[in-house]
């Protein structure tokens, strides 16, 4: 008995009627808070990435009293900063047939028909405004000689709708949001709390009313209250230990909210990116992405003989297996992310990786042309590996990159706890079972600049919700739980480092709940994770005290939560006996080894309710309805 099934749930806030006008109608029906009253309404925003940064800035502009939190030393360093490729928008500046409807269609299909049509349509509509907003803020998007914006194409689309700023799109968009946020800080409408970690959610009389935080510098645990709490704390890819995420990315905020009653949707939907720099040794601390665009000109191969130890350049043509070209003649090296990743895993392992070879491209186009296209990526590769990709083929391997799952939210981005809103990668998003490239940035900014500010008033119109302070029993309980946890972590004083536990958990998750999952493996993981979790609380060693900066303590708290989340991910993966998007169950595949969806039985969002550590969670299904896009099978052979 890994779980029990509860009552189905549904999104109560999405308007019925034509999909094109739903967002307008919802905005109109949402109640407003008049400007004078906004000054007396407070909102806590946890996270300063694209979602949280833009939300806090915008709510500040509207006149609400905002408190913003992040664990880094500056809001500008949120993980969104690392996004490289670009941001999608249905501007149709190219006149190449793009439209809101097409972006909507591509995204629903790209998500393998496991997302909500209404949400995705709204995302596509709002995408257009995002680009306007960012340009006005001074985001230096790439431009053509005529002075107009340049765009490029990304996977899963036949139009050129991806706006970019060299290989640093996330950085530039985040700086735009950060600057807007700092403007509000200066205006006194946003109170910024960097180096402050949210460790729990305060729920009073059924409403989210605040958070418990730890000041990472002084170690002080304290409370912050507001009329609403917004979580924008990003994804949980670091459950896997090694991922393309920043070291500090964590699930603590959403996991604690989940424990307080927020449902967690589709936790097993993780995206694995095929082209990352592989592990070079046990010391490996994170994995670095190499843009998908490289597969336009690079050819992927492995030695025919798995035990071939020759240097790649010494392996003659005849002994090479260009496996993607062999297996998928129609798409060749340009098959979608999930397919390429799985093929690489099946044919090699992370020690050896697979080769991404530019020799043909250099012979065909010349080294100069290749440098113009990929120079900065080649440089980054060389910096990390010490190899020159102009001369030796790149060695790459898939890595965990993004989590489509997250806290369940309705059309208004409300979680199942009243007053708790979840935005950005932290919610279960608009991406279904697989996210298209350049769509996470779009979603984060859509949520933060437009969607949340457009509907949060409807909730805040009912405020004030009565006074709360530290003396309230619910508050006191939550605070003492947090203090107790910190104390316990320090008190165990065992003999294993946090890192060693994290590494072991990550390994297990990668092996059993990674690119390919099967029943036996998931059951094995579900046996091992609780053991490992027990061991963690017996043997972990956290030196120092809680009364000042203690990075081990921070890490320990995060890994402790990863254990619990990992278990839920495996339960979710086990229960979903179909393959869809990033979730590949080996029991559910076509004859040629492709993902086989089971729409009859699994066309729903799996929203999980917490019942206690190690206790079976309760599954609530939200049925997905497709009125505008008909689910079909994807084929690339």
């Amino acid at each position: 008995m890994y779980f029990t099934e509860g009552s189905p749930i549904a999104d109560q806030r999405v308007p019925a009627g034509p999909i094109e006008t739903r967002w307008d109608r919802r905005r109109f029906s949402a109640r407003l808070v008049n400007p004078a009253n906004r000054r007396n309404r407070s909102v806590i925003v946890v996270g300063t990435g694209l979602a949280g940064g833009s939300a806090a800035a915008t709510l500040g502009e509207l006149g609400y009293q905002v408190k913003s939190f992040c664990y880094q030393d500056s809001p500008r360093r949120a993980h969104s900063i690392a996004a490289q490729g670009g941001i999608n928008a249905a501007k149709n500046y190219r006149n190449d047939g793009d439209s809101v409807h097409r972006l909507f269609y591509d995204t629903v299909k790209g998500g393998d028909f496991r997302s909500r049509e209404s949400n995705v349509h709204r995302l596509a509509q709002v995408s257009v405004e995002i680009i306007d907003q960012c340009v006005a803020q001074g985001v230096p998007f790439a431009r053509e000689y005529g002075g107009l914006l340049d765009t490029r194409s990304f996977g899963g689309a036949q139009v050129s709708r991806t706006f970019y700023a060299r290989g640093q799109t996330g950085q530039q968009l985040l700086l735009g949001a950060y600057q807007a946020l700092e403007r509000q800080v200066a205006a006194g409408r946003v109170e910024m709390h960097p180096r402050t970690e949210m460790l729990d959610l305060i729920v009073v009389d059924g409403r989210a009313r605040g958070i418990v935080v730890r000041d990472l510098v002084s170690g002080a645990v304290s409370t912050h209250f507001a009329d609403a709490v917004v979580l924008a704390t990003g994804g949980y890819g670091n459950v896997f230990h090694l991922s393309t995420n920043a070291k500090g990315c964590n699930a603590t905020a959403i996991w604690r909210a989940h424990r307080r009653g927020a449902l967690f949707a589709n936790p097993c939907f993780t995206q694995i990116h095929p082209t990352c720099i592989p592990i070079s040794g046990d010391h490996q601390s994170k994995l670095t992405l190499m843009s998908e665009s490289l597969r336009n000109d690079g050819r992927v191969w492995v030695p025919r003989d798995r035990n071939d130890t020759r240097a790649p350049n010494d392996i003659p043509e005849a002994d090479r297996d260009y496996f993607l070209e062999r297996m998928y003649p129609a798409f060749g090296n340009l098959v979608p992310r999930d397919i390429a990743s799985r093929a690489a895993k099946n044919i090699s392992d992370e020690k050896r990786g697979v080769y991404l070879d530019f020799a043909d491209a250099i012979a065909r186009l010349g080294a100069l042309a290749v440098e113009q296209r990929y120079g900065n990526l080649f440089e980054m590769y060389q910096r990390i590996t010490g190899d020159d990709p102009y001369r030796t083929p790149m060695r790459i391997y898939p890595a965990v990159h993004y989590t489509m799952g997250g806290l369940w939210v309705d059309y208004d981005l409300r979680s199942t706890i009243p007053g708790l809103f979840v935005i950005g990668e932290a919610n279960f998003s608009d991406h279904g079972a697989n996210r298209l490239g350049a769509s996470a940035l779009m979603q984060g900014l859509a949520d933060g600049y437009f969607v949340l500010p457009g509907v949060i008033g409807d909730y805040l119109a009912d405020a004030p919700f009565g006074p709360v302070d530290d003396s309230h029993p619910m508050v006191a309980d939550t605070v003492s739980e947090v203090r107790g946890r910190v104390k316990t972590l320090l008190a165990v004083d065992g003999d294993r480092t946090v890192e060693s536990f994290h590494r072991e958990l990550g390994r297990l998750m990668w092996d059993e709940c990674g690119m390919e999952r099967d029943e036996a493996g998931l059951r094995k993981a579900l046996e091992r994770i609780p053991e490992l979790r027990e061991e963690f609380w017996q043997r972990v060693k956290v030196p120092g005290t809680g009364e000042r900066l203690n990075q081990e303590l921070e890490k320990a708290g995060r890994v402790a939560d990863f254990f619990e989340l990992a278990e839920l991910m495996c339960v979710d993966a086990l229960h979903r006996r179909e393959s869809c998007g990033g979730h590949f169950r080996s029991e559910s595949q076509t004859e040629d080894g492709e993902a086989l969806r089971d729409d009859a039985n699994f066309s729903y969002v799996a929203a999980w309710e917490y019942t206690g550590v190690g206790r079976p969670p309760v599954l609530h299904k939200e049925e997905l309805v497709f009125e505008h896009v008909t689910p079909s099978t994807r084929s690339y052979a």
Partner: protein, 248 residues
């Protein structure tokens, strides 16, 4: 390979260099991964690990920052500490690791410093005032490509603080100028161009950073190669701000 590390340890108002010897290092490790290895060892030995800031480990978040053998971010050009690999050191080297040092960057612990002064400089004016939803169509104002490129180059600043750490005057002028240039060359940044320069420089000075004497240590330490020309631009804008009629 083997390295002898001399690392700054500080928990109160003062600190000192402590020596650690690490064998069995792989040249493929990044500098921060080496610190991870050291910390794992320290923890199992019952000692406190070395505190250092880091997050993305990809050279983009600007969180990491170490003075390695007296050079901000270490010996490799245009490379952050997190992207620096041990293959650039020789077996047996002695490596001194210190935090950024400057009056406005007080040490929090070991190698961690407080760079919130940078946020204050941005808050003072490093933005374009455009509330969400009020923007005209993105193509309403074309931007000449050279201007867009100049803006981008300046906007590439990651706010790491290496420029301050390397500067013999403890000046943050390169950081400040990068932001002023980014916004100042774009048409969208024009309305606030001069007040921005004035307010950011005022905050820069008030935060306790020193004045720039154009020695150029900053650009050579800067992992993103922000050029000194940005400082000239900022100076020009500041002069203009103070010599034409004040807009406030």
């Amino acid at each position: 390979m083997k390295l002898t590390l001399r690392i700054w340890r500080q928990s109160g108002a003062t600190g000192r260099l402590v020596e650690y010897v690490l064998d069995d290092l792989s040249p493929d490790m990044s500098f921060l991964e080496m610190l991870d290895v050291l910390n794992e060892r320290l923890i199992t030995e019952g000692q406190e690990p070395v505190a250092f800031d880091h997050d993305c480990r990809e050279g983009i978040c600007g969180m990491c920052g170490l003075m390695i053998n007296g050079m901000a971010h270490g010996p490799e050009k245009a490379t952050t500490a997190c992207q620096l690999h041990l293959r650039h050191f020789r077996d047996g080297d002695v490596v001194t690791v210190e935090p950024w040092r400057a009056e406005p960057f007080p040490v929090v612990r070991d190698l961690v410093v407080d760079r919130s002064a940078f946020d204050r400089i941005v808050a003072a004016g490093g933005y374009v005032s455009v509330p969400a939803g009020s923007a005209p169509d993105a193509h309403a104002t074309p931007v000449p490509k050279p201007d867009a490129d100049t803006a981008f180059e300046a906007a590439a600043c990651i706010g790491c603080g290496a420029c301050v750490a390397a500067c013999p005057n403890g000046s943050a002028m390169l950081f400040t100028a990068a932001k002023a240039t980014h916004l100042g060359v774009l048409p969208q940044g024009q309305p606030e161009r001069y007040s921005r320069a004035r307010d950011m420089v005022a905050e820069h000075d008030a935060s306790g950073f020193g004045g720039c004497t154009n020695t150029g240590e900053c650009t050579s330490a800067c992992p993103k190669g922000i050029p000194l020309t940005t400082i000239a631009r900022l100076n020009a804008d500041l002069l203009r701000a103070h010599t034409t009629r004040s807009d406030r």
